[in-house]
Each structure stands twice: as structure tokens, then as C-alpha cells.
């Protein structure tokens, strides 16, 4: 009898604590989802310029057209330079493919590779929602910023740990550190120049990145023409990869 009573008392006192924990975890997840939505609509199209900058100041630039749908479908098409034109990448959850027009068929690639060289890897270029890939382990508030400690949901995610800093008022990221499981820094992303893209999309337009693994090198991503747009699921298939350019609207 005494034993049952102890259990009942324990449940009575611990249940609210547990419920509070669940509720805090849900809140943190909702916060991360909100940060994702502030960065992009769930389905959208955009143009990006990637610039790889070498220590001596030399630059190599790429222009990409990107489409995204739901939490796990992203496809990109290279528009510039001429050596990369027509290449396309597709990400469906953990599956990634690269299509090279000369080769004529998509081949599987991995998130850790980089189709552009430089500091950005394929996962950075075909970024899914953070909430789709990470759970929030801990939340801290520091001087007008919220710091989320994120942990990869599965081992297939390219960074085991992520530290995401966001402005508490705008809930837009200011800095993201990508780390290994042993908390070794792989790269840092800096979010700059908040811009109104129209359609209610206000977000940083420049993302800079550097990495202790590439000392002196820097890569920059400039966003343009981010627009909410719906696509059919069939756009995000291997068969459609040679035809991504047909989604772009012709100049008027």
C-alpha cells in the first residue's frame, strides 16, 4: 500500500514538471520552425549568387536558380558560369543527385561534397528547413539574441551539431556555427543585410561563411528574387532534372 502511495505521489508531483518540459521543447521547436519560415516560405523559388573568395582576393562566381517544396525537396540549376551552366542538383530528404548535361544522366552525390568547391558544401546549397533536420537541445538568451543548440535528428545530416543565433525581435538568424559531434567547428555562417524581398519576405540577403578547415578562404551567398511559388511533386524527381530551366519565367 505504501509503495502504491509513493508512486501516486511521485506521479502527482512530477507530471507537471514533465508536462512543462514537453511544453518547453515544443516551444523551442516552434521557435526553430518560425526562424525557418522567416527565412523562406515553405515552397518558393529564388536566385542566388555564390562567390568563392581565395586568400589572394581571386573570386569565382556561380549563379543558381533554386526551387523548394515542403520540408525536404530542393532542386537547383546552375545558370553561370558557362562551365557549369545546365548542371542541376536535386535533394529529396537524404537523397541527392547531380545532373551534368555532358554526362547526360543524374548521379548520386553526398551532402558533404561540394559541387561548387570552396566553403559551401552540397547541404549548404540545398539547405532544408533546420527544423526538419535538427532538434533543439537547449535555448539561451544572450544580449538581444536567442542561441539555439541544435542536434541532428539522424546520422545522415551533414553537421552533427549546430549553434544558431537569431535576433529575438525579428527571429532572423545572425550567425550559425556548424560543428562535429565532438563540438569541433566546421564552419560559421554570418547572416547580413536584411532586405525586403516583397510578398512579406524580409530576411538577410547576404550569407558569408568561413571555415577553420579552409584558412583564408571565404564564400558568400547573395539572395535575389525570393518568391513564394507552388510546384508539383514531379518537379522534384530525377527524371525532371534536365528540365528545371523550364520552370523559370522568360524575360518580358
Amino acid at each position: 500500500m505504501k509503495k502504491y502511495l509513493t508512486v501516486l505521489l511521485a506521479v502527482f508531483f512530477l507530471a507537471p514538471v514533465y508536462a512543462g518540459t514537453v511544453s518547453a521543447a515544443e516551444e523551442d521547436t516552434q521557435l526553430l520552425q518560425q526562424i525557418d519560415r522567416n527565412m523562406n516560405p515553405e515552397s518558393y523559388e529564388s536566385y542566388r549568387k555564390l562567390i568563392n573568395i581565395e586568400p589572394d582576393g581571386r573570386k569565382k562566381e556561380f549563379i543558381l536558380y533554386t526551387v523548394k517544396k515542403d520540408a525536404d525537396k530542393v532542386a537547383s540549376l546552375f545558370l553561370e558560369p558557362a562551365s557549369e551552366k545546365g548542371r542541376s542538383t536535386l535533394r529529396l530528404g537524404d537523397n541527392m543527385w547531380l545532373y551534368i548535361p555532358n554526362v547526360g544522366k543524374p548521379v548520386r552525390i553526398t551532402s558533404l561534397q561540394s559541387v561548387v568547391g570552396g566553403v559551401f558544401n552540397n547541404a549548404d546549397i540545398m539547405q532544408l528547413d533546420y527544423a526538419a533536420e535538427y532538434t533543439v537541445e537547449k535555448k539561451e538568451e544572450q544580449g538581444g539574441e536567442v542561441l539555439l543548440h541544435l542536434k541532428a535528428r539522424t546520422r545522415t545530416v551533414s553537421y552533427d551539431r549546430v549553434r544558431l543565433r537569431a535576433d529575438t525581435k525579428t527571429l532572423l538568424p545572425t550567425k550559425i556555427e556548424c560543428l562535429t559531434e565532438g563540438l569541433m567547428l566546421i564552419k560559421t555562417l554570418y547572416f547580413k543585410e536584411v532586405k525586403d524581398f516583397g510578398g512579406g519576405i524580409v530576411r538577410p540577403s547576404v550569407i558569408e561563411t568561413d571555415s577553420p578547415l579552409y584558412k583564408g578562404y571565404k564564400s558568400v551567398m547573395i539572395m535575389a528574387k525570393i518568391k513564394q511559388r507552388e510546384f508539383k511533386d514531379e518537379v522534384f524527381t530525377m527524371t525532371f532534372m534536365p528540365n528545371i530551366d523550364s520552370l523559370r519565367e522568360a524575360a518580358k
Binding site: 551534368i100 553526398t110 558533404l112 535575389a224 527524371t239 528540365n243 523550364s246
Partner: protein
């Protein structure tokens, strides 16, 4: 002659090592006009590749190719290439063409040829349906170096598998559906292949319309294709392939192909031609592994059931030697011409035997050297242990330019596949400029 060699090599080396302009860091800008889509597109690349090779004058294939030339052991050759691509898009329709122009200078002779590699009309009534008609490559199969299921493509060069290929004239459709659940994508690709005097006359027997089809599934995160070719131009062929990432950095792939009633033509040491008919079952198994420091390893094993046994190849090489000796003693080229015809019927193809191993190791940007990719590739004939070994380095640091320096070391005993190739080694510099 020597001065000319020096000039071309100096030009090429200048392009390779010339200091690139040092751009100054500036504010980042993104001119939106760069994103505007134009209905017309014209692009492509030009390529210049000087090459030095060391002849193996005792090799059967050297004697067959150069029996009437008196060449130096060290020979140089220069190749020029222009690949031109153009398209015009209006609404759901798109016209595309890829033209390949090759020129070259080797053994004191100039050569040139131009081919339409692809030229087709594409209609996209919806994102689920694409209709295409014209000359195009289909590139079926998951293998990197070989594709036994590529029933509709010309064979690719395993030494340079990413080169563009000349297509065939087809009418095809791609119908795709996406689903949620273990089956994420299902595509069906029916293809019609007309073989007439003016269409695909090198595909097979003329005056027939052939049918092929491919069903593609993305099922449990695995790419799977089922392929069939049927018609009177060639005997029926069936195939399947798959590709899957076991882990994010470890991919496995494979192909199986069956050719009904395959006819293999062989030539023996006396020049007697025999034909054997059987059902050929070929297969390929491969993997691609990426390490944390960006080293990519590709390994493939290929069993080509349409290939020749070692004794059949030895008979062919022996016949070439006999034909060459006859030519030397009598001046009669007839037997060499017969050997050349036999080569074209199969025994002279890129990898004519049955069991091969392909291994390629490349490292992207080692020692923080951005845009440098060194690699080494080995193709080994497992029947006679002959092989080719190709170290190379690729540099892509200059916008729209790709520079590759590649050597090819060819080793093998007498009467082995690589032992009887025309060269012992060659070194090639390839400078490609995209526009």
C-alpha cells in the same frame, strides 16, 4: 619539327601556369539582369590537347594501324575540338542541338570531322510528361565506366567516361508520378527507334521500327530501373540497375543485362572467322566512397559476357602478326585488311574481353589547394592481368577554363589486351574553355 613541339607545349604550359588576374575584394553585387531567361541559348566549349606518346612498335595493334608508316618511337599529336550547344524555347516547346567538331594533327596528317551529337524537339505539357523526338543520348545505366544496360547508347570510353556521346534518332516520352511512402517516384520511358537507310543505319538490321522502355522507381531511397529493348534490328535485350546510398558517403550500384541469341564473331590465328550464338548475361557491381577529407574512390567490377576469352584474343593478335609478316615479305596488305574488318566486328572495341576492374581515386582540393583535383585511375583486365594506369591533375580555378594534365601508362605481357595496344605510355594536356 622540334621547334613546333616546343611552341605548342609552351603555349599549353603558359595557359596552365599563367598567373591569373588578381581581382580585388569588393562589395558583393548581384545584377538581376544576370538572372533573366532568354529564349535563345548558345554555348559550349573549345578544347586544345597536345599529346606525346611512346609507340610500342612490336605490339599487334600498332602494326595493324601503322604498318605502312615509319614513325619515330616518340610521336606527338594535337587535337582541337569545338562543342557547340544551342537551344530555343517557346512555351512548352524547346529545340536543342549539340554539335561536335574535331580536328587533329597526328603522324604528319590533318584530320577533321563534324557530327550532330544531339538535335531534338522537346515538349513539356506538364511537369509529369516530357515528349521528345530527334537525335539524342539516353545514357541508361548506373555504372561509371561501363553500362551493360545502355542498349540504346554508343559505348563510352571508360578512360574518359564523362565525354559527350553521339546519340541515336528516337521518339520518346517520360511520364513521372510522385508518391508519399516507400515508393517516392515512378517513371515510365517508352522509346521508338526507327532503323532505316537514313536513320540509325549503324544500330542494327535496317527497315525496322524497334521499341524500348524503361521503368524507374525511387523505392526505399534506392534508384531502380527495369529496361527492355525489342525489335527486329537487334536481338531482344533485358536489363535492370540500381543505385543506393548505404550511408551519406557510401554508394553502391549495379547493372545486369541479358542479350538473347548474341552472335560473337571471332578470328583465329589462321584468319578463320567463326560465329558463336548464345544468350549473354553481363553484369556490373560498383561502389563510390567519399572520405571526410574529400577523397572519392570509385571501384567497379564488370563481367561482359559478350567479350572474348584470352585464347580468342591471342588468336587474333597472332593473326595480325602473321598478316604483318606477310606484308613485310610480300607487300600484300590483304590479310591486314581482313584483320581490320575483324576488329570492326567486335574484337577491336575499347575493352573486348570479359572481366575488368576499374578503380579511380581522386581528392578534391588537397592541402587547401582550391580547385585542384588530382586523381589516379586503373583499368585492369582480370583475365590477362594487363592494365592501364592514368594519373592526372585537373585545375578549375580560372573561370570557364578547365586544365587537365594526364598520363596513361599501359602495361601487359605479349598477347594480352593492354600489352598489344599501340602505345606504352602517353601524356596529354587538355585545355578546355567554356563560353
Amino acid at each position: 619539327m622540334k621547334d613546333r613541339h616546343c611552341f605548342w607545349w609552351l603555349c599549353a604550359l603558359f595557359l596552365l601556369f599563367a598567373p591569373a588576374p588578381a581581382w580585388s575584394a569588393e562589395d558583393y553585387s548581384f545584377d538581376l539582369s544576370e538572372t533573366e531567361k532568354q529564349p535563345f541559348y548558345l554555348g559550349g566549349y573549345t578544347e586544345f590537347s597536345p599529346e606525346i606518346s611512346s609507340a610500342d612498335k612490336g605490339a599487334a595493334l600498332y602494326r595493324l594501324k601503322h604498318y605502312n608508316h615509319d614513325e619515330a618511337v616518340l610521336a606527338d599529336a594535337y587535337a582541337f575540338k569545338l562543342q557547340l550547344e544551342g537551344s530555343y524555347e517557346k512555351g512548352m516547346a524547346r529545340l536543342f542541338t549539340r554539335i561536335n567538331v574535331n580536328g587533329g594533327y597526328a603522324f604528319d596528317e590533318w584530320s577533321d570531322e563534324a557530327n550532330v551529337y544531339e538535335g531534338y524537339l522537346s515538349l513539356k505539357p506538364s511537369s509529369s510528361l516530357v515528349l521528345e523526338a530527334g537525335k539524342k543520348t539516353l545514357r541508361w545505366g548506373k555504372g561509371y565506366a561501363w553500362n551493360p544496360v545502355a542498349f540504346l547508347d554508343r559505348p563510352k570510353n571508360p578512360d574518359d567516361p564523362e565525354l559527350s556521346l553521339e546519340g541515336i534518332v528516337v521518339a520518346s516520352a517520360d511520364y513521372t508520378r510522385s508518391f508519399s511512402g516507400p515508393l517516392q517516384t515512378l517513371s515510365f520511358t517508352p522509346v521508338l527507334i526507327p532503323v532505316y537507310d537514313s536513320f540509325n543505319d549503324d544500330f542494327g538490321r535496317a527497315d525496322h521500327l524497334n521499341v524500348a522502355g524503361k521503368v524507374y522507381l525511387l523505392f526505399y531511397d534506392t534508384d531502380i530501373d527495369f529496361i527492355v529493348l525489342s525489335g527486329a534490328s537487334k536481338t531482344s535485350r533485358y536489363g535492370a540497375d540500381f543505385s543506393r546510398n548505404i550511408t551519406p558517403s557510401f554508394e553502391v550500384h549495379g547493372e545486369v543485362a541479358r542479350i538473347d541469341d548474341y552472335q560473337k564473331k571471332a578470328i583465329d590465328s589462321l584468319g578463320q572467322i567463326s560465329v558463336t550464338e548464345y544468350d549473354a548475361f553481363s553484369y556490373l557491381l560498383g561502389l563510390r566512397y567519399l572520405t571526410e577529407n574529400d577523397v572519392t574512390t570509385i571501384v567497379e567490377y564488370y563481367h561482359d559476357d559478350t567479350g572474348y576469352e584470352a585464347k580468342e584474343m591471342a588468336g587474333y593478335f597472332s593473326f595480325i602478326d602473321h598478316a604483318y609478316n606477310t606484308y613485310l615479305s610480300t607487300g600484300n596488305e590483304m590479310l591486314l585488311a581482313k584483320a581490320t574488318v575483324a576488329s570492326e566486328s567486335g574484337v577491336g572495341r575499347m575493352n573486348p574481353m570479359r572481366d575488368y576492374l576499374y578503380a579511380r581515386i581522386s581528392q578534391k582540393e588537397p592541402f587547401d589547394l582550391l580547385y585542384f583535383t588530382p586523381a589516379i585511375t586503373c583499368i585492369m583486365n582480370l583475365q590477362d592481368s594487363s592494365f592501364s594506369l592514368s594519373p592526372e591533375v585537373i585545375y578549375t580555378g580560372i573561370t570557364n577554363m578547365e586544365v587537365r594534365l594526364k598520363a596513361n601508362i599501359i602495361q601487359g605481357e605479349d598477347a594480352s589486351e593492354y600489352g598489344e595496344k599501340p602505345n606504352d605510355y602517353l601524356v596529354e594536356l587538355r585545355v578546355r574553355y567554356f563560353f
